[in-house]
Amino acid sequence: MAMLAEPPLLEVRDLQTHVFTKRGVGKAVAGASFSLRAGETLGLVGESGSGKSLACFSVLGLNPKPASRIVGGQILFKGDDLVKKSERELRAYRGGRIALVLQDPMTALNPVFTVGNQIREAVRLHQKLSRWAQHRQTVNLLERVHIQNADTDVFAYPHQFSGGMRQRVVSAIALAGKPELLIADEPTTALDVTVQAAYLSLLKEIQAAEGLGIVFVTHDFAVVARICDRVAVMYAGKVVESTSTVELFRAPKHPYTEALLKSVIDVSHRPSRLYSIDGNPPSIFSATKGCSFAPRCIHANAKCHNEAPPTVSTGPRNSVSCWRYVS
């Protein structure tokens, strides 16, 4: 259904977010670009420290301050550049147009307020309804995320729920404002595998019903395969490859993506040795000359070490940042 001419819901261009610590300035997000359309799920993949979470927080202006700051790039949400917005203006986007779901369900809810209270707070903020209608809407949202006894559970406290149920409550809160974009930072990482599967189904179901765009941060390719339409691979603060999920698994282009896929064990072809990538990602505090993956890349040559590769297009919406694809 997505037409070529359809404008992106979210387009991040060359985003740079720096962190300020005693050790100095760290370029945690050093020029990341990715985009997605309404109704699409974009997977943001990378190791810890690749900057994927910080990039997501930056979209909503929720990067920790004053420890970090967006220093460059654009974040275009339906054409509006969020980087240029003031804190007050950004608040209008939060919840109502862009929503957030975090990784750890155990700490994502305020322990001293009931679940219903926290959902209703979001409802009250974004919809003009009477108190009774707010309550009904709260219960509806709980039912929407498949919480069984919504009528009674609405008065329960977070600690009375399991991890999977809490994550659903967090999602209910996210949906309360009827957002167009959902940013999910590894929401299934802390869940059991079966609970994970149920949650992913729920997300897909909601997306289909609402036409929601989802940015899904993860390091798990199984999850990517399950629900992402497109994938952006991040390394050392940059997006090194951006492509469709199908294409990613079929023919990964960036050496890092290749290596990542190789290190995921395929049960049907059990390798004799486990594969892992030699070396470590570069420190965000040091400036690197050339391609940031070069020190660990099996294909690297002198040019790779000296000059950072440009991002070249490899398809209608695909790109890769590697000298091998520069003609």
Partner: protein
């Protein structure tokens, strides 16, 4: 839960018993009240008669036994100074001490909560330093001296406030401030670190992500969590406030239990002194007990 209550109750009773024995023994084994009550030229036989009269010639354990039995009947003896029942004196003065302690605690909380929040929000900057400085000063200033200085300034020089007694709300001002400032230090520090820890948690980020105003996130979501350890702290400190109040009562001539204790030590008024010490200990023990038990109300997680 009942086990907790029972064990705490036992502990309380034990503390009280040990306290009473201590004071009892001390009071009886030293100095004779006869010297203070009788005039200088009382004859030895008059002394002996007096001592017999108030029962000081019997062996100690016997005296203690009598004391406990009487106590269970609500009879704690009569004041050696005025002859009035000790219970009457003590319970007449007790409410005023509680009022002062409460006023001081209210003052401390009203001042310390905003300072603690400000210190956390402006960590490392001016308001943080000011708040912590204020708190530290409160711990460093001796309350008796502060009382004297305030009296000097506001009663003697400016004549704005009365220097002693109870009459109107103006009498409460200086004593409450002096007494309250000393515990505000603990509150500010605790709230600051508690707030910093809470602000770091995920649900705060999500509260912002909902689109809530920063004020709401801080004062509704963060503070409610940050206050949990503070409430128990204040609860436990209430007992400390009451005992620290003794000095303040003496300086301001506040007719409460502390002043009574001071006076009765000067007069060697054993019965009154004994009951006073017991009441103080009982209050502290009781307050601690309440705080322990009520933790469940404040933190829903503990309820189940």
């Amino acid at each position: 839960m009942t086990r907790l209550i029972v064990s705490r109750l036992l502990q309380a009773v034990t503390t009280l018993a040990i306290t009473s024995i201590f004071v009892f023994v001390l009071a009886r084994t030293s100095g004779s009240p006869a010297d203070l009550v009788l005039s200088q030229d009382a004859t030895p036989s008059e002394r002996v008669a007096y001592i017999k009269h108030i029962g000081l010639d019997k062996p100690l354990p016997y005296q203690y036994g009598v004391f406990v039995l009487d106590a269970l009947h609500g009879d704690f003896g009569n004041s050696l100074r005025t002859g009035a029942p000790a219970t009457k004196l003590v319970f007449e003065r007790l409410p005023r001490t509680l009022l002062l302690a409460s006023a001081a605690t209210v003052f401390a909380v009203l001042v310390s909560v905003p300072l603690g929040v400000a210190a956390a929000l402006h960590r490392g900057r001016l308001w943080d330093r000011l708040s912590m400085g204020f708190a530290l000063l409160g711990q460093s200033v001796p309350s008796f001296w502060l009382g004297v200085v305030l009296i000097l300034i506001f009663s003697v020089w400016l004549r704005w406030l009365p220097s002693s007694g109870v009459g109107s709300w103006t009498n409460y001002l200086m004593p409450s401030v002096v007494l309250g400032w000393s515990i505000s230090a603990g509150i500010v520090r605790l709230l600051r670190s508690s707030m910093l820890e809470v602000l770091d948690r995920d649900f705060i980020t999500l509260a912002h992500a909902k689109g809530l105003a920063p004020g709401t996130v801080i004062w509704k979501h963060a503070l409610r969590n940050a206050l949990i350890p503070v409430v128990t702290f204040v609860g436990f400190m209430y007992g400390v406030v009451i005992t620290s109040g003794i000095v303040v009562e003496v300086v301001f001539g506040w007719p409460g239990l502390g002043l009574l204790a001071y006076e009765s030590t000067l007069w060697r008024d054993f019965p009154v002194l004994q009951l006073t010490v017991l009441v103080y200990t009982a209050i502290i023990v009781f307050v601690n007990f309440l705080v322990d038990i009520s933790y469940g109300i404040i933190d829903p997680r503990v309820r189940d």
